[in-house]
Every structure is written in C-alpha cells, then in structure tokens.
Amino acid sequence: MKVLLMYADRDFDEKGRLGPHSEDLTNDLGLDTVWNAMAQGDAFTRDVVQHATLNIMNDPAKIAYRQDILRDCLNNVSVIETLYSIAVEAIEREKREYFGLFSHSPTTILHRSLKVMQIFVELLKKLKKTADDNSHLFASSGFHRFFAMIAEDLSEEYFADVEEQLQELQFRHGIRLSAQLGKGNKGARYVLHKSLGEHRTWFQRLTQKSEPGYTIVIAERDDQGFRALAELQDRGTNLVANALAQAVDHVLSFFVRMRTELAFYMGCIHLHNALMRKDEPICFPDALNEDSSLFACRDLYDVSLALHLPGPVTGNTINADGKMLVFITGANQGGKSTFLRSVGLAQLMMQCGMFVPAKAYRASVCRKMFTHYGREEDASMTHGKFDEELHRMSQITDELTPHSLMLFNESFAATNEREGAEIARQILDALVEKQVKVFFVTHSYTLTHGYYDQRRDTMLFLCAERKQDGIRTFKLVEGEPLETSYGEDLYRQIFECTELEWDAVKEMDNPR
C-alpha cells in the first residue's frame, strides 16, 4: 500500500538532508513565516513543509500532479481533515502502547502487538468508509489511485480474515506447542499450533480428563516454577510475536506516510485560509519548461510580508519574458527587497506544487535557486565582510548550473562603489552567459548605469516608484536607474526633528 500523493512514482522524503544553501534561502526569503503559517504550531507539519519547499521539482508534469491534488484538497477540506486525523490517531495511539521498560519477552511483544493491531483495524475501517463515501468528489489522478487502492486492498473479506487471526492470537484456550529435542535432550525448535478450544465438542470436553497423561502442578508461591513456565511460552510464541510485531510496523509506516504526505496539503490549506481571511489573491501558476526563459506576474506580493502585516500588501505586475538580468533600484524602503523576496517565494511555491501569491503567475522553472544577500560581520573572524561575500559567492558557484535562478540583494557593496561594481559586472556577465537568470537589487549607480547604457533585450530595469512629493508607493515601475537613493530625506527625518517628533517617529516604528 503506497500513498504516492507527493510524487506519482515515489515516497516523499521528509527527513533527507537539505542542500547547503537552504539556510540562506530560509533567512533571506523569510520562509519561517510561511512555514509557521502552514504548520499552525505543529512541529511535524513544519518539518514536512520545510522539506517540500526546499526540495523543489523542476519537471512541469510533476508540478501539475501536485497542483491537481492540491485543488482536490482545497475543494474537499473536511475530507482531507478526516483522512489526516485518522493517520494522526493511528500514530498517536500506537505510541501510547508502551513496550515494557525492562522485559522484552515474546509474551509482552505479542500482547502489545495485538492491542495495537486491533486499534489499526478499527482505523483502517474508518479510512475505508471515508474513502468509499467521498472518492467520487475527487478529480486528480493522485487521489483516484489512492482511493482505488484502498477499495481493492481493504475489502470486507480481508477485514474478516484479519479479525479471525487476532481472535486466535489471544490464546484464550492456552497455547499448543510442538517441540523436538535439542542438545542434551533439552527442548528445542518449538512450533506453535492452533488452539483446539473452539472446535472441541461437548463430548470431547467431557471425556478429556480420562485421557492418559501426567500433570505438573506449580505451587502457588513457587516463583521459580512460574518463571520457567513463562519462558516455555515465550519460546513457543517467539516466531508469531515477531511476525505480528512486523505486521504492526508495516501498517504503522503506511499511516506515517499518509500523515506525512497529507501534512503538506494540510499546510497548504492553512496558508490558503490565512490568505483568504486577508482577502489576498492566490492562483495556480503555469510552470513552464526551463529553457523557455519566461517570467510574468500580475499583482505578485510577498506572502511572508502579507502574513506579517495587519493590512493589505502591495502587489507588482511585471512582464520579464525573455529577460535574464533584472535590476531593481531606487528609493530606500521603496519595496525592492520585498519584491525580490516575493519572486523567490513565488518561484519556490510554484516548484513545490503550491498555489502562488498573485493574481496570475507564469514562469519557467529553475533548476536551483540561490540568494546572495549583504550580511553582518562574520563572527568567526576569518573573513572581512567583502571577503565573506565573495567566499559565499564561490560556495554558490560550486552548486550553480545553467537555468538556475539567482537573487542578489545589495551584494558586493562592502567595498567602494567603483570596485564593487566591477566585481558585480564580471559575475553578472558570466552568469548570464551561462544561462543563469538573475534578479539584482542594488544601490550601485555605477553598476546599473553601465548596464543601462547597453540596454540589451535580455535586461530589465525596475525602479521603486517615488512620487514628486517623496511619497513611496512600494510599487516597481520600469525606468532608468537614478543616482541617489534619497538618504538625505532619511537624514532630515531622523536628525532634524525635535525630541518630541522623534519620540513619535520611534513610537510608530513603521513607515507604512
């Protein structure tokens, strides 16, 4: 029994090692906020969605497989919740049945396995019923297969069979063993036989006492005697206890798979609800082949910011089809970093099969994604700041392949502008020639203007919009990079106000 709701042909790996760049992606894109909204405080779900978002798929067909399943989930939330709760219940009730702390004898293993298996049967029946009642509501190929598998593998006859076995294993009428003689005539190779209990006639029961034989009676307080008897039983039930315990593990792992893969979709449902409550739009994106080099979005917003802010957030509408190099320049706090983050988040969400925070989103898939952000001083004291940035760029280069996506945010600025621009130019030229798509947020006029003078078809220049009166709209518009970032505005705002005004500014602490 395979779950196969994440991939059509393999299990989802929620424990695999994350790539070396995962930590940077997490911090730079604010993924924690997204994961927390998806997990709703559940650490397990958080792990699952973390692995799903960081292990992106780059085959549009695989993406579509998950998108279809997710659509089903959003249309049948209560069914998904029921399925998920069945898996969770199975796992939690199994956990509650402790193995003894000290004695792992076959008797205790058998006893526990029986108890757990009875719980599992009860929940498998519940799963069967939920599937039978609701399967007609689902349209995706993933769920079709899943429900068909349940209908076939969990038939009425099968349950009847299992229950008979579980009855038998109670050994209500004792256990029957056969044995051969081993070394020194000591009993060995014990085999367990089916109990005769139920099948005896009233006549057999009446006449049994008269059959020839000897009876050993263990005295009431003979502890050693009881211990020996228990050991014999253990030898006899060893194989069957092992078999049943293994069966329990198999069923458990099915529930674990089911919980794991549904946790991803539960996370998507939670995020969906959170965005619906805020009236923020979502859409299922068009994921296109990696060599198509397309990117277009309508009202694309930063989902992490949307979750963080009480009010609505600004979206951006951009067409960057055919562009390999997108520069974002302009006013501080004009929404540059926010836009960069929104591109990264949307691309990751698309490539793990999720919906995307935008009214429309269409983009080529990337093979890998990297972020390169300006950083604080490195606490290990081995690199200066600029050195550290280039070291990080070098580590990224080890992983880079054509058709990757790179997001730079104020990179290579920890030196003077002329030299920083020269380094950036060399890096960008090489990346573009190697088919790496780049979004670059920068203040460096020297850098952007150099490229603006070339104005190639593969480049796009976006500016944080700033009206004549200095008010920022947080929207990006196409336009020529300007030389100043309005630091003077900020200086006046912060240094040339009275103490009273200053207190008010600090109080608000929120430029919006």
Partner: protein, 510 residues
C-alpha cells in the same frame, strides 16, 4: 555591614544586583567570546556578571590590578585553586543530598560535607601562611582567615563534627527475616552461616549451573526496606541519632558567608589568569594599564585582538600586533584600507583594550596608557532582517542617532562599515554629517570606513591604514599604520582568490 570582598575595596559601593545580560557592545567587540572563553570552565560560579560590570572609578581598578599582579607573579594562586577544588568537592557532596528521600541518610551526608569544609579551611590557612603578598585585598583576606579559624564558633564546629563521626562509627545491629518479617536487633556475635549452607547441599550439585547472582547498584540510594531498617536502628540508638538531629540543626549554616563569597570572587582573577596564560606562553605582551579620567589620549604598543589571539593560539597560528596612538587634540581614528586587512579587528581591539582595563584586567600590549570612559557605544553593520519593516539605511541612522544622544565627551564610539547599503554619494553625505556631530561632542571615536575622504576632515581626525605586502595586493600584513589613505581596496585580488572573477565563473559553472 558590608562583608569583605576581594573584588571591591572597603568603602566602595558594590552594585546592588548583578546583571544577567551582557552589555550591548559585547557581540560587536567579541567580548562575549572573550568572556565565554575566560569563564568556560567556571560555570558554577556565574562569573559572567562580574565581567558585565565595568568599574567607573580608578581606585577600585587599581585594587584589582594589584591583586591580579600578586597572583600572577607568585606561586600563590595555587593556594586558591586548591581551596576552590575542596569547596567544589564539598558542594558536589551536598548536592547529592537533595536527591535523597530518607532523613538519616541525608544527615550522614551532611556530616561528611562539614568535614570536607573543615579540612578545606584548615588547608587554606596553612597554605596562606606561606604566601608573600603586597596587595591590600589579599593581606586583608589573610587576616580574615586567621581570625575566623581562631573564633569560638569555628572551634565548636570542629569538635562537634569529630565527636559525631566517632559515635556513628560505633553503631552495630542485627536483622531477622521470617516470612514477610524482618527483625532489627542490637548486634550480637554470630557465625557466617552461608558457608555452612553451601557445604550442606554440595552433594546435590548437577553439572554447570547458570548464575543467578544479581548485580546490585553501587549508588548511594537506599531502597525502601533498607530505609525502614535504618529507622529501627535509630530507635535502638536514640542518643546517637538524637545527637545527629541536634548537630544538623545547630550547624545548618556551617559555611562562613565571607568565605563563600570569596570562593566565588577569587575566581574572577584565577579565570582571567588562566585565560591569558597561553597568550603569555606564546610571547604576546600583556600589561596593567595606567588610566586617566582627564587626559583623552590612547597609547599602547603591540596590542592585539584578544578574542582572535586566543583562537589563533589554539590553532598555532601567528598573531599580528598593532600600535594605537591618539594624542593632543586628536579624537577620531579613521580606519581605511583593503578588505580583510584587519580594520574591523583593529577597531574591536581598541574596544577590548578599553573595556578590559575598566575591569581591572591586564590588557593586550605594552606601556598602555588609557582613558577611563563613561560609556562605550558601538555600531557594526548588521544582517538585514526580513522581519524589520525599516530599511537597513534607516536602521543605521536610527542607531547612530541613539548613540549620539547617549554619548558624552567622555564616551568611546566605535563605528564599523556603516552606510554600506546606500550609494557612494549618500554614504559620504551622511558620514560627513555624523563625523561633524561626533567632533562637536568631543567624544573619542574609532571609525572603520571605505570613504577615504573622512581621514582628512580636521585636526581631530587621524588616518590609520591597513597595509598589504608590496607587490602582492591579496597578501595582507594585518598591520595598521598612521598614514594617509591609499585609496586602493584590492577588491579584484580578493575576487581572484575566491575564483569568482568572470574568467573563473565561466570555467566553474558547468
């Protein structure tokens, strides 16, 4: 009444409470790493907070310097290390007592703890007599110990302890177990019966037998039966156990408060000396600085970043030292030069020098003459927070405004690579404005920047430049020298080193 303190001279108002949080400047100056290294093996003493309380007057600083020097230059630090060991053993012994359930078990452990304490005190007194001190604090402590040992209360503690141990050693009893009955009786002479039993049944023996010997735990815990037996024994010997009850009540606070406080506070010196020992071994100079509250000058030769040096010592790597000089009207050191040339380290080093001096600790370098500051304020470029709704430039400006309004003419301000998130034009505009304000305040300042022009701002600014090996721009000397900026940032040399130039990337991306 204030009890005697080895950290504060008599008459000095010691702080009412000890801070648990390190000062804000700690991470920027890597002081957190230094303190972490100093106190690494001293966790139970909670020494960190001592390092969080810089002294604001010169006298108590010299009080500590004297003690530190005495301990460093005589063999007598070993005396206190031995005392600390004994006190630690006593505390560990006592700590197990909390995990015990049965009163007479606990009381016997308590008695042993007192014995350990008594031995520790006596050893301390003996050892102190062999020491030659000159520091006021240490002489005062020696007097205190002599008086304490001669006191009547200590005498009683000793006699009571010896007597109690003797009495308990003499208790003996017998047990009789029948069915589910166990009788506890006074001791009487009996033979070893188990041997008789073994001999009686020897003839039934059949081949090799599996061992049914059970291993019992060797821990101090009593099981319930043992505990109940102990209760009966106590009833058999009411006088002895009555005495034990009395003893424990009478001596419950047997550790002298002054000694307890001393035991912790002396660790400040021991930990610091243990920390600098490997630096001295490496031949790195450390000295006890001369401090001034009036002359705003800094002067030290061959100083180094203590956090970095400590790490490099472990790695057997070379430590580069630098001179610092700020004299006459000079107030602001403008530090420029190539990336990874040691600029940040240099600025940290000055912060560390000034902070360590205010604790009474030795400082890196020779002939240090330092200024006793009222505040150290730092701003090092910080990682952009995605949760922060303010841009990075605004964060920088807000922080600097806070620094300037907190600073006085006696403060030390350290700025490192600020305004990197804006254009060159903006960065120079803002830097000039800020520098003017710092100079107006007459505060001391170390400023690491890539804007070379700041160096020649006025007679109050001095230029310090990180240098590199002539002809090899990527090779750093980590030496910073007083001379005009040379305007080269050697960025391409670093890019080449990391293999991220155009040519390298074209080769590396497959």
């Amino acid at each position: 009444m204030n009890i005697f303190s080895i950290l504060y001279p008599e008459g000095y108002e010691r702080p009412g409470y000890e801070p648990l949080q390190s000062p804000e400047i700690f991470p920027d100056l890597n002081l957190d790493q230094i303190v972490q290294r100093i106190t690494a093996y001293k966790a139970p003493y909670h020494l960190n907070s001592v390092f969080y309380m810089p002294l604001k007057e010169i006298d108590p600083i010299y009080y500590r310097q004297e003690i530190m020097q005495n301990l460093e230059h005589t063999q007598c630090a070993a005396v206190f290390r031995a005392f600390a060991q004994s006190m630690k053993a006593m505390r560990e012994h006592l700590s197990r007592l909390d995990k015990m359930y049965y009163p007479y078990q606990q009381k016997a452990w308590f008695l042993d703890a007192v014995k350990l304490y008594k031995d520790a005190v006596e050893e301390l007194r003996q050892n102190l007599r062999g020491c030659q001190w000159t520091a006021k604090g240490l002489l005062a402590f020696q007097d205190y110990v002599e008086n304490y040992v001669a006191s009547a209360s200590y005498e009683t503690l000793c006699t009571d302890t010896e007597k109690m141990k003797q009495e308990l050693a003499e208790v003996r009893y017998s047990l009789r177990i029948k069915g589910n009955h166990v009788d506890v009786r006074p001791y009487s002479e009996e033979k070893d019966y188990s041997e008789e039993v073994r001999q009686t049944f020897e003839k039934f023996r059949q081949g090799a037998a599996k061992s049914y010997l059970v291993r019992f735990s060797q821990g101090p815990d009593l099981n319930q039966l043992e505990a109940r037996i102990l209760e009966r024994v106590a009833q058999l010997y009411p006088d002895v156990f009555g005495n034990l009850d009395q003893y424990c009540i009478k001596h419950q606070d047997y550790v002298d408060e002054t000694l307890a406080v001393f035991d912790r506070e002396i660790q400040f010196y021991l930990a610091t000396l243990e920390f600098i020992e490997p630096l001295r071994q490496k031949g790195l100079p450390l000295c006890y600085p001369v401090l001034s509250v009036s002359r705003k000058t800094l002067s030290v030769q061959d100083a180094f970043d203590v956090a970095l040096a400590s790490k490099l010592c472990e790695e057997q790597a070379e430590v580069v030292s630098n001179d610092v000089l700020l004299k006459g009207p000079e107030r602001v050191l403008i530090v420029t030069g190539p990336n990874q040339g040691g600029k940040t380290t240099f600025s940290r080093m000055i912060g560390q020098l000034e902070y360590l001096a205010s604790l009474g600790c030795p400082v890196p370098g020779r002939n240090a003459r330092l200024f006793l500051w009222d505040k150290i304020l730092t701003h090092f470029g910080k990682r952009e927070q995605t949760q922060s709704l303010r841009g990075k430039l605004q964060d920088d400006l807000v922080r600097i405004r806070d620094i300037l309004s907190e600073a006085t003419g006696n403060s030390l301000i350290i700025l490192n690579e600020i305004f990197t998130s804006t254009t060159l034009q903006d960065a120079s505009f803002l830097s000039y404005r800020i520098l003017q304000r710092i100079i107006d305040q007459d505060a001391l300042c170390v400023w690491v920047t890539f804007i070379d022009e700041l160096a020649s701002f006025s007679e109050k600014t001095v230029s310090v430049v990180a240098s590199s090996v002539a002809g090899h721009p990527a090779l750093r000397t980590y030496k910073l020298v007083r001379r005009p900026p040379d305007g080269l940032a050697y960025a391409l040399a670093i890019a080449e080193k990391h293999h991220v130039t155009y040519r390298w990337l074209k080769e590396r991306i497959l």
